[in-house]
Symmetry: C2
Subunit: 347 residues, 2 copies
């Protein structure tokens, strides 16, 4: 990466699984940081985190936390916290990057995957949203075809890891699995149902139309990011007993016929995507492969013999990295390159 | 059930997970059995099984095993074993029910789910095939709509349990999970990849067209059972770390518009299917619910707002019961009712 300005960064949700991964990624990318502050709920306040040789004490978030000395505020807490604190931080001059669903569909707020629609950052109004952790890998996998041959319909089924529900989800799967191996069904309450050795077709709450909010997010966010308001998307979102890697089986129909070999080539040129697709060698990505990596891994790219305009494929990514924290660091880097953050940006 | 004749039954693969479940189901249904013989490979020969107060010693299968004294031979072994022994047993007068893929697409062999196409038994030629354990629940869930409003296209993603790979698959998941909880990746070799806390988008071998045999089975078998040669089916078959319940997310397009409430009612009338679908109460079936039951459980029935002819739904069934052994017992019962088996049937 080109050198970035050392910004004053505050993380709300600094004790959470995404907040911790965010610090790790700053380190991995050697991102310059001017000053780092970690905020969390009262429960986590007072605990400490090591970062580049300093000990940072986590403080409790309050409306007074945003005093105008932040360049960037990364909100990785609840939708409620985002609705309360994002406008405050924005009004005090910070570029707010929000990982909740609170502002994603707000027409004033860009929803950004840097590799896909970095230009949308130019019209930010102080708040930038980042997509749901299932939307990002799907859009990354399909965009390289879509930009040449527009998408018409997506049917997608997800295989989502428990980390999407936070650190408690990870611990819940561990404890439930240990119990289940001993013959005991002991739901931890971290998912909608017992998740050990199970598959739960409900992520987030139900809506009136019998879809879940997660399914609706995948549809609406994809349309917004790709600026494709008429794109048909039918999603089924399912939690399975994996830890970090979100996977999805995607069937996508495009306006014109798609050759799977050409699709594979197009996808392989996409930054942030790695094609792992060798049927002869039985090579394809799995959630275990994706964990700890930044790439979206794509495989099982193949034709639908009954529909020349359609292909099927399989995508996997780490829900906490490219699905969340990595994308935020990339948004900061991109905003920096474009002079959209920090002193002199007008923010 | 009406009283059935007590047939002389032989199970090839009597030591396997499906063979054992078959005996359990005979007991549960109080199916009369004249004489029961269990055959297996040399490795299992000599071990014993209790059945209705008798001890049955498992014998090694050989061409000489079929001496003309069987009414029914249930083959639950490899495709190779089926190809070798099915014609022998058939030629010595038995009704052969085959659980392998060896004869499923043979135009002389009916492929039967009793609730859907029992009439196909009438043209059996001594061998009846039963569908792959993923085909059965999908067809059972869609048939009640299809018979009124023909299917045009299916896009399906499976969440398949390890029991589909036999008893070794179940043990493999246990041992891999125990190792993984201790931080060790120790693939058991029972699936194409490590399956503990993973999702593996390959069931069975790859074909030339980059689909897997399992995916092709779902497409071809569905077309044959429903007598719908032009039906478009795109399947992605994925193994996940569940033990017995096969689940699947189905998107299905029909010739005419489908109202999800009417679809739900139609599915609820289907014998062998139980609708569990109350979004308000967060009720839907999961693999843990399906294990040990004979029903195909269907939920998450909803419209696709972008396509009036399409609905999405979620189906789960026990891969070893309705996916395998239960369906076989039902085929025997149905053949009995129709006078297609045993003395006097011409077999």
């Amino acid at each position: 990466m080109p050198t970035m300005n050392p910004y004053a960064i505050t993380v709300v949700g600094g004790a959470g699984i995404v907040g911790r991964e965010f610090l790790k990624i700053l380190d991995e990318r050697e991102t310059p940081v001017g000053r780092l502050r970690l905020l969390a709920t009262k429960r986590s306040a007072g605990s400490t985190v090591e970062f580049r040789g300093s000990t940072i004490t986590i403080e409790e978030t309050s409306p007074e936390s945003f005093a105008g000395d932040d360049d960037v505020v990364f909100l990785s807490a609840s939708g409620e916290a985002s609705r309360q604190y994002a406008p405050l931080a924005r009004d005090r001059g910070a570029l707010v990057i929000d990982d909740s669903s609170a502002f994603r569909m707000d027409p004033e707020v860009p929803l950004v995957i840097p590799e896909v629609n970095a230009d949308a950052l130019s019209w930010h109004n102080g708040i930038v949203s980042q997509p749901n952790c299932t939307t990002t890998p799907m859009v990354m996998a399909l965009y390289p075809i879509h930009r040449e041959n527009p998408l018409r319909r997506i049917v997608v089924s997800t295989y989502q890891a428990v980390a999407g529900a936070g650190g408690a989800g990870v611990e819940g799967l561990r404890t439930e699995t240990t119990a289940a191996l001993a013959g005991r069904h002991e739901p931890s309450g971290t998912q909608k149902r017992e998740i050990a050795f199970n598959a739960v077709p409900q992520v987030d709450d139900f809506r009136e139309d019998a879809s879940t909010k997660e399914e609706t997010k995948m549809a609406n966010e994809t349309r917004k990011i790709l600026d494709a308001p008429d794109l048909a998307v039918s999603a089924t979102c399912v939690r399975i007993p994996t830890f970090f890697g979100h996977a999805m089986a995607i069937w996508a129909e495009f306006e014109r016929p798609v050759d799977p070999a050409e699709a594979r080539e197009a996808i392989a040129t996409m930054p942030g995507v790695r094609v792992v697709d060798e049927p002869d060698g039985e090579r394809y990505p799995t959630p275990v492969d994706a964990a700890g990596n930044d790439d979206v891994l794509v495989g099982r790219i193949r034709a639908d013999s009954s529909c020349p305009g359609a292909i099927a494929l399989w995508a996997v990514t780490d829900s906490i990295r490219k699905g969340a924290a990595t994308n935020v660091v990339q948004i900061i880097e991109e905003a920096d390159q474009r002079g959209l953050v920090g002193p002199g940006s007008g923010r």
